[in-house]
């Protein structure tokens, strides 16, 4: 690894020799802040004054009238979800999402089978990757997968056998689940390395969230929503959204940067993280 690092380092030095990038004008940056900060402050003051006027015109604080609300018996409190996004209760059933390749890529139907086996040798489930593959309109015989394959597993150790009935490639890995586990197993079928230790990668939603950037305020309302709820919410807000990963399967997406677009990561039909771009 050190040798490769050194060779890459030497190549990068030589390849970028003479290339210079210019620092943006710092003075202009300061000027921009000097101009925009007072404008922002003035706008905030105007907004506060207008708010107070409107509030008083609407009856102020209600004078001496005392209003009490029993939330437990108010129908709207129980059913109205428009004001706040639905919250997700922590899953109490361990879940494993199996993912192969990249979502949205067109290919032949898969021959992968995934068997989930309990410590006593009993088969928890015998699944096929083709379950999540869908025919591609206009391309006979071609399919795509847009999400990973979900499987509930018991708490404790579960052995996962991934086998390609076409090529005979086999991979065996083990996951250990706690009641709240949301695991992701990515297979590496066809990997040239392909030894038992590297034929599958195991990660979790929590690990994924830990290394993700904080969710921007504009994207936070989507957290916990289902895909359908997110679509409806985005439509109401006039916002563009797209699903970039579903059940551990990353989708092919365009790499253009659009600061007003919300990128959603789903797991078990819930948005677990979101970003702008």
């Amino acid at each position: 690894m050190n040798e490769l690092h050194e060779r890459l380092d030497a190549l990068s030095r030589a390849g970028s020799e003479g290339l210079r990038v210019a620092r943006p004008d710092i003075d202009a940056h300061r000027l921009r802040r000097k101009v925009w900060l007072p404008v922002g402050a003035l706008a905030a003051v105007i907004a506060i004054v207008v708010g107070i006027v409107v509030w008083q015109a609407a009856g102020g604080d209600g004078g001496d009238e005392v209003v009490t609300t029993d939330r437990s018996t108010t129908p709207d409190a129980a059913t109205d979800t428009s004001a706040a996004p639905p919250t997700t209760a922590a899953s109490r059933t361990p879940m494993v999402a199996f993912a192969e390749g990249t979502g949205g890529e067109v290919g032949e139907p898969s021959t992968l089978r995934i068997r989930f086996i309990a410590p006593d040798g009993s088969v928890i489930a015998d699944r096929a990757w083709s379950e999540v593959q869908e025919p591609q309109p206009g391309m006979p015989g071609q399919v795509i997968a847009s999400r990973g394959l979900l499987q509930r597993v018991p708490v404790g150790r579960t052995r996962i056998e991934i086998r390609s009935t076409g090529s005979g490639w086999t991979c065996i890995t083990t996951v250990t689940a706690t009641p709240d586990s949301r695991l992701i197993v990515g297979s590496k079928e066809g990997d040239l390395v392909g030894d038992a230790g590297a034929c599958a990668a195991v990660t979790s939603v929590d690990e994924m969230l830990a290394m993700s950037s904080p969710v921007p305020a504009a994207a936070r309302p989507y957290l916990g929503m289902t895909a359908a709820e997110a679509e409806a919410y985005a439509k109401a807000q006039g916002t563009d959204i797209r699903i970039v990963s579903d059940n551990g399967l990353s989708r092919v997406v365009t790499m253009d940067l659009r600061p007003d677009r919300v990128n959603l990561t789903l797991y078990d039909d819930r948005v677990v993280t979101a970003s702008l771009g």
């Binding site: 490769l4 940056h29 990668a201």
Partner: protein, 163 residues
């Protein structure tokens, strides 16, 4: 951190990273410049304490590298070549590695650059590339095998697994 300090620290490495990711000097300089300018524009947001502007600017630069490199490749396929471009200059010290990197798919090359050159952990590579750690490991694994074949050397060591 002040933007000027950040620029001084990040700019040289960013240009080099973009060169390794694209193997094209023009695209590398263009993408690095654009990413650093966007960082300057958004510095009030990304330069606050606790944020990671270096990761942010790497992500933006790689996105730009990818889209502009695609555009360059697409254009070069469609348009007649009106000028000569020395895209494999003899002064490069390691043409074997240059050609081996060029033969890698974009994502595999990015993973190699971030992990083996920038020394980022798999998780950090994943954050910069906007993919899962498992996906990065997959790219690295395939890239290692291809590089080993192309360079006629043993595959570099595996990255440290996260579990």
């Amino acid at each position: 951190m002040d933007y000027a300090d950040f620029f001084g620290q990040a700019a040289p490495g960013l240009v080099r990273m973009c060169f390794l990711a694209t193997l094209d000097r023009e695209v590398a300089a263009d993408a690095a410049q654009e990413a650093l300018t966007r960082a300057w524009r958004d510095w009030d947001r990304i330069g606050v304490d606790g944020s990671n502007p270096e990761a942010w600017v790497r992500t933006v630069a790689l996105n730009l590298c990818r889209s502009r490199w695609r555009r360059v490749v697409r254009f070069s396929r469609l348009a007649p070549r009106l000028y000569e471009v020395d895209d494999r200059p003899d002064r490069l010290p390691d043409l074997d590695l240059h050609d081996a990197l060029r033969s890698l798919p974009t994502r595999q090359r990015e993973a190699v650059v971030l992990h083996y050159w920038a020394d980022l952990r798999v998780e950090d590579c994943a954050a910069v590339m906007g993919v899962s750690a498992g996906s990065v490991k997959q790219h690295l694994s395939r890239a290692r095998a291809r590089l080993a074949t192309a360079l006629g050397t043993p595959a570099p060591d595996e990255e440290v697994p996260t579990r």
